[in-house]
């Protein structure tokens, strides 16, 4: 890996993500790009014709100079904190008037050598998920590079066991190759999981055949395998994660936004929001 992007907001979650990011950067000898996005306040207005609109002014004129300076100071403090590690660190403060995600996206586009984003999120349920982590969800759904979402309950920064749920749909060869590559780089062991449900029921023999074909087709040299029976894929994944020690869930995401996501549901978004362990997502749009 060449460069890892770590969006930070100086919260406890982002500190956690940073700790994991530094471990990974050290191990993979890659550079870290610490990014803080300053969101400009939006001032909605109604024009004379009754249309809602926004004032378009340069963000620099709205955001006080002090706030930008403050951001730089904090980023430098992080740099100093980890100075004893042999990791090359860059910092960047980005201004954006639309949303935090847009700022992150702009930075990813500007650097073509970013191959992983690491960011924090709360392992949440209930109201928290509505309030926190919406930026992370946006990044997961739309980012062009794999995103590692580090949960705040994830205390250990070493990732041992990576869980990859598989299904009977043919998988994109490059996607699986990328998954295996990144899981290997993170130093984790790959564990495959199939969730069998009554509506789409297969016998254990059929599932084993399918898994063997999967492993052979994608040249996966070493992976353990479990079949879990449950009523839905998410339920099965959560059950497995609850009962077994898993450090990371790997999930390709279809990156549906808007109505598509609403109607077809996004297993990945569910898993990212509700699981207490870290999640590594790959956007299917890129494959």
């Amino acid at each position: 890996m060449k460069r890892i992007l770590v969006p930070v907001d100086f919260s406890k979650q982002s500190d956690n993500a940073l700790a994991v990011a530094f471990k990974i950067a050290q191990k993979t000898k890659s550079r870290l790009l610490l990014l803080h996005v300053v969101e400009a306040p939006i001032n909605p207005q109604v024009n004379m014709m009754g249309d809602a609109g926004m004032i378009t002014v340069a963000p620099e004129s709205i955001i006080p100079h002090e706030q930008l300076k403050h951001s730089d100071q904090k980023l430098n403090a992080i740099k100093e904190k980890y100075a004893n590690l042999d990791v090359k660190i860059e910092t960047h403060t980005e201004l954006d008037i639309e949303s935090g995600f847009m700022g992150i996206d702009k930075v990813i586009s500007a650097h073509d050598d970013i191959d992983l984003v690491i960011m924090g999120s709360k392992g949440s349920s209930g109201l928290k998920e509505v309030l926190i982590g919406s930026n992370t969800e946006q990044v997961v759904k739309r980012a062009r590079v794999p995103v590692l979402v580090v949960k705040d309950d994830h205390i250990e920064s070493h990732l041992n066991k990576a869980l990859l749920p598989i299904n009977l749909e043919p998988q994109n060869a490059k996607l699986v190759a990328d998954i295996v590559k990144i899981v290997n780089l993170l130093g984790a062991e790959l564990h495959l999981l199939y969730v069998n449900s009554p509506l789409q029921f297969y016998s254990t023999q059929q599932i084993n055949d399918m898994k063997n074909e999967f492993v052979k087709k994608h040249h996966i040299s070493k992976a353990s395998f479990t079949i879990v029976d449950d009523f839905s894929e998410e339920k099965g994944i959560f059950y497995y994660v609850k009962e077994n020690k898993v450090d990371l869930i790997v999930m390709p995401t279809h990156g549906k936004t808007g109505l598509g996501a609403f109607f077809s549901g996004s297993v990945t978004a569910d898993v990212v929001n509700h699981s207490a362990v870290s999640v590594l997502t790959f956007n299917m749009k890129n494959y």
Binding site: P198, S203, T204, D229, E243
Partner: protein, 279 residues
């Protein structure tokens, strides 16, 4: 001390059963009761003939013959050092035969079965064995073929988490411990009776919590039907012995619900044990 009951009609299949019982007796130290059930009408016929021919002498010729056959079986050199008792019971009709056997007090019945060819490759178990499975008060071990160098190391127990299964396992614990066999619990999930992993592990925990069995593991296996699932798993797992609790359904209930254990026994080539659970 336990008791292993081996019904014999001096056929090859019952000799196979005695071989298996002898091996089990060696590891458990249980005694063997070798029993011949004689139909009393046969006896009556022979008595009548003997009376006619010998003017009342040698009335028990058939009985004496049976006794001699049992003795010669018992005294085979390969059964040296085993505690074998012989017993002859009379029963008036063929259908009562299984009832007579099952009414005996025993810890285990080892029954050799005649194998009746079915339509396909399956080898169906005989009528007497079928009847015995439905009536016996203790576990019945069905022996379909000669067993050489008996070694029972992996035992598969099929369960649907019935409340009775804990008791059955407790009763089997001495035998399993004596065999030093690893117990593997198996539950089959089918589209029509789907079992989630979540539920299985929860119920299993409560079921196994208070059993005398300390070491066991568990598989939830998916298949089209329970019978196929049990057979496929047994084959994959290379199970030495299959233990199946059965409801021993009779009459209409049997006609409509059938017996999974019986169907599995028809297709399973290894050692199959059924345990009749009273509802």
């Amino acid at each position: 001390m336990g008791k292993i009951l081996v019904p014999t009609d001096f056929s090859e299949s019952s000799a196979n059963a005695l071989d298996v019982a002898a091996e089990l007796s060696k590891v458990t130290g249980w005694g063997i009761t070798l029993m011949n059930v004689m139909k009393s009408n046969e006896l009556a016929k022979s008595t009548y003939k003997a009376l006619k021919a010998n003017n009342g002498a040698g009335t028990n010729k058939l009985l004496a013959e049976a006794k001699a056959s049992l003795e010669s079986l018992k005294n085979k050199p390969k059964y040296n050092g085993l505690k074998i008792t012989i017993e002859i019971t009379l029963q008036d009709s063929f259908t009562k035969l299984s009832e007579e056997i099952s009414s005996q007090e025993a810890d285990l019945i080892v029954m050799g079965t005649k194998v009746v060819p079915g339509y396909g490759e399956e080898k169906l178990v005989g009528k007497n064995t079928r009847a015995l499975i439905k009536n016996a008060n203790c576990p019945v071990l069905v022996v379909k073929k000669p067993v050489k160098n008996l070694s029972i190391k992996s035992v598969v127990f099929t369960t649907d988490f019935d409340v009775m299964h804990r008791g059955i396992l407790n009763n089997l614990a001495p035998l399993l411990n004596a065999l030093n066999a690893k117990l593997h619990l198996l539950c089959i999930s089918t589209p029509s009776s789907f079992v989630t992993s979540r539920k299985a592990s929860k119920v299993l925990g409560t079921m196994m919590n208070k059993t005398k069995i300390k070491e066991w593991d568990f598989t939830l296996y998916n298949d089209k039907s329970k019978e196929e699932g049990i057979l496929h798993f047994a084959e994959e797992f290379k199970a030495d012995m299959l233990i199946m609790p059965t409801h021993g359904r009779k009459g209409f209930n049997y006609f409509f619900n059938g017996s999974i254990a019986e169907q599995v026994l028809d297709h399973f080539d290894g050692l199959g044990m059924t345990v009749y659970q009273k509802d």
